[in-house]
Amino acid sequence: MSEPTKAPPAAAGRAATKKELPEHFKAYKHVWVFIEQERGQVHPVSWELMGAGRKLADKLKVDLAAVVIGPPGEAVQHAAAESFCYGADLAYIVSDDVLTDYRNEAYTKALTDVVNTFKPEILLLGATTLGRDLAGSVATTLLTGLTADCTELDVDADGSLAATRPTFGGSLLCTIYTLNYRPQMATVRPRVMPMPDRVEKPATRVIEHKLGLVEEDIVTKVLSFIPDRDSAKSNLAYADVVVAGGLGLGSPENFQLVKGLAAVLGAEFGCSRPLVQKGWVTSDRQIGQTGKTIRPKLYIAAGISGAIQHRVGVEGADLIVAINTDKNAPIFDFAHVGIVTDAIRLLPALTEAFRARLSPHSRDRIAS
């Protein structure tokens, strides 16, 4: 497994600090995606990452591997088999009874051990509460770089991972490299990458790895798990239609106008960051870099100026509609359709117009 020698890249600026990759890292090859599964369910962000990972692996001409960690049994085997349908060339499984519930100690050891044994050059994880908890511990254990919440992943000419993410509180973007350490680690939030198509494929290369921990080794115990009562809470990220409001609404009372339109459209409602900071709307409704990333068919943004941290959370939408009084607002730079008017006046009219148009009678009209 010798790495072909590559010409040093034309360095510029701080990239000039780049040295040759240390010898012991040269064996690090292939792109890995951590498959997040809990209570038998694979988090969809894992398949989204497989799509992104496949592109990186193809560019690097290396394998894409899925890493599944969990309890022995059907769920983990199934997750590994599914990973082949989302583009995996091989899958690693670490299964053990102590991995039944997510616990940092056991999962950190599991993932760190497979990395040290099989040596990937790139390791991607979902930026969920689990993924972020795990990624921070694994990267620190391996003493390597970790770039959080990336919005774009690419491989540059010399084979380095170029991870782009918002910076300075979401007012600019930056591209980050992990030059002399391996693996290069990155997390990506759910819905940032498109869901790849599932293509039926047989599971070919599955490699099982032993954990080597017993329950007595693990200090933290899970006493119980309380599922969220309001499961609709988490639907925002995966909704087909989303209506959101921003500071342009002027008052918390006016946020009802957003909810009203959302109700008529059968949509989820959301808001920009300032409304959460002001306490007008709860944080689970926040859309943007630090809130939810959405990819709906239709996104209507009312009174939202469109700061970068908001933009990166909505850019995957098929159709972005902006309502804003300021024709120079940055949201018009990335919206598909804009209307320069006061959202407070337009929203009630829009709600009524949609209600009339989408009523069952008008549906008959379309059908005829």
Binding site: A15, N104, T128, L130, R132, D133, G136, S137, A139, T140, T141, L143, T144, G145, L146, A148, D149, T167, F168, G169, G170, S171, L172, L173, C174, T175, I176, Y177, T178, L179, N180, V219, V222, L223, S224, F225, P227, D228, D240, L265, G266, P274, S283, T290, K297, L298, R311, D318, L319, F332, F334, V337, G338, I339, L346, L350, F354, R357, L358, I366
Partner: protein
């Protein structure tokens, strides 16, 4: 009980402006605040101290001006403030930051007593990585509880802590041993106003100020830019979409009708889809 709370002084991001030509951050005149997420950690620490007695030490790494945030933390009722400041720390990424903070916490441990709990906020509003808490825990060999919504019970005699941790789709109730590191979720408490006596004490308090050497840093190459495996190669503003937004003209009709017309003209399938989603078929 000794509790260490790590805080960060951050620019008030609501007021950050980007220079339209050079795409650089215009820092002049931007007020700084304690990272808002850290206040939930600080309040949680103060509540435990009030219940069990002991001390709360706040720790920050930053420029000398970060002293402002430490004094603010003292006005809320923290007992001691430690400022870790040195030019060697400049340019640190999360890995280098955790090296410096973990080293300082060891020094705090030697100097003022070993902490039972180290608190951090969930993440910062300028970096947004949520990596520093887990990184400190790993370096100090502490157990970690991240995204904690509620601390149910701390038993200082049995050396245990039970907490509710936010996870995907629900809440995990976890029990682990002290010492540990806790990252607090937002909106889990409200920072107290602070007593007048604390404000007076804060104004006069001696801030413990340590350089890298004072804090016991042995390997300066693990700090700051040098100790950071990641490097930022490029900072930029995203460009506008190549195709300009269609601005709806409503000069001679109702704006709502004009907008809906434009939407359905662009995406003819949308009307049928919306009719379905609107009526739940």
């Amino acid at each position: 009980m000794h509790i260490v709370v790590c805080i960060k002084q951050v620019p008030d991001s609501a007021q950050i402006r980007v220079h339209p030509v050079t795409n650089t951050i215009m820092r002049q005149g931007v007020p700084t605040i304690i990272n808002p997420y850290d206040l939930f950690a600080l309040e949680a620490a103060l509540q435990l101290r009030d219940k069990f007695g002991g001390e709360v030490t706040v720790l920050t790494m930053g420029p000398p001006s970060a002293e402002d945030s430490l004094r603010r933390a003292l006005t809320y009722g923290a007992d001691r403030a430690v400022l870790l400041t040195d030019r060697f720390f400049a340019g640190a990424d999360t890995l280098a930051t955790t090296y410096a903070l973990a080293t300082a916490i060891r020094k705090i441990s030697e100097t003022f007593g070993a902490p039972d709990i180290v608190f951090t906020g969930k993440q910062t509003i300028d970096g947004d990585t949520a990596q520093v808490g887990p990184g400190i825990a790993k370096r100090l060999g502490l157990l970690q509880l991240t995204y904690v919504a509620k601390i149910n019970e701390v038993d200082p005699a049995a050396r245990t802590i039970e907490a509710e941790r936010r996870s995907e789709g629900g809440v995990q109730v976890l029990k682990t041993k002290l010492p540990c590191l806790v990252t607090m979720l937002e909106a889990t408490n409200e920072i107290r106003r602070g007593a007048m006596a604390d404000a007076l004490r804060a104004a006069r308090a001696q801030i413990v100020t340590w350089s890298a050497k004072d804090a016991g840093v042995e390997d300066i190459s693990k700090c700051g830019l040098k100790g950071s495996p990641t490097i930022v190669k490029r900072v930029f503003a995203p460009s506008a979409r190549a195709e300009k937004a269609t601005i709806v003209d409503f000069s001679n009709r109702a704006p709502a009708d004009a907008l809906i017309e434009e939407l359905f003209k662009r995406q003819p399938k949308l009307e049928a889809e919306l009719t379905t989603s609107a009526h739940g078929f």
